[in-house]
Amino acid sequence: MTEAEIQYEYAILERSKRNPNAFGELYEKYFDRIFNFIYRQTDDEELTDDLCSQTFLSALKNIGHYEFRGVPFSAWLYKIASNEVNKHYRKKKNNKVFSIEEVRVRELFEQANEDWDEEILQKLLQYFKELPTDMLQVLELRFFEDKDFKEIAFILDITESGAKMRTYRALDRLRKNFNLRIKYDVKE
């Protein structure tokens, strides 16, 4: 995201503080991404609809408190969404669900078509299942949402070095277990 885009969004936010109708532009821009992010952690369309709506409502309620902290506005939305999902799981006391698109898994391992079979996929799923939640969250944000470490740190309320460490640790374990080429850095 360029500096000009960040400034443009900030101007919309300033307008939204006075007139909530101005928030519509940001809602339209980020709805799909936030919906996908939540859907990946619920695998339930109706529940995702509720949580997504709650996320944007919380954003609107708290827009007056928003301060620019060197990360794009979307990171703030992701943070709210992540909190809403965590709140839901704490309340329901269910197992956390991570639903991954097969296409994205293939992308992650740079295995478009060749040498990719059901057995590897099942092994990978087992591997993901055994990963701690914090590592899964970091992997999700890094590889499925294409977030940089600064944003990941902001969203998960951890340090930037902590986010890097979690990602590299998870990927190292992945390398040891599977002889796959991993798309290590989407962007730095």
């Binding site: 919906f35 996908n36 695998d43 369309e45 709506s53 609107l60 197992n95 639903s99 991954i100």
Partner: protein
């Protein structure tokens, strides 16, 4: 053992997501929230006002009572020592007494 459940699914299409996008519904929820917030603030102000009026009335009533029956509310008692030796001499330091 981790408590996460991992599932593989197909990518959700933008059309499917669009079914859930509804900004006017969000705005309606937000204006309901604002109305409720304003009502709660108004209620709190009214409660504070009522409480202050009640306190004022209680104080007024107490003052009135005091004016009607001043002997009932006499609190200052005069103190007269029975003899001059009522206050014992206190040793200030070992072997020295106050004159």
């Amino acid at each position: 053992m981790s408590r996460n459940e991992i599932r593989v699914r197909r990518t959700i299409s933008p059309g499917q997501i669009a079914r859930h996008r509804n900004y006017s519904k969000l705005m309606a929820r937000h204006s309901r929230y604002l109305k409720m917030k304003r009502s709660i603030i108004a209620l709190v102000y009214v409660l504070i006002l009522v409480l202050m009026i009640m306190l004022y009335m209680l104080v007024r009533k107490a003052e009135h009572e005091r004016k009607l029956h001043p002997e009932k509310y006499k609190t200052t008692a005069s103190f007269e020592p029975r003899d001059a030796n009522y206050f014992p001499q206190i040793p200030i330091a070992i072997g020295i007494t106050a004159e």
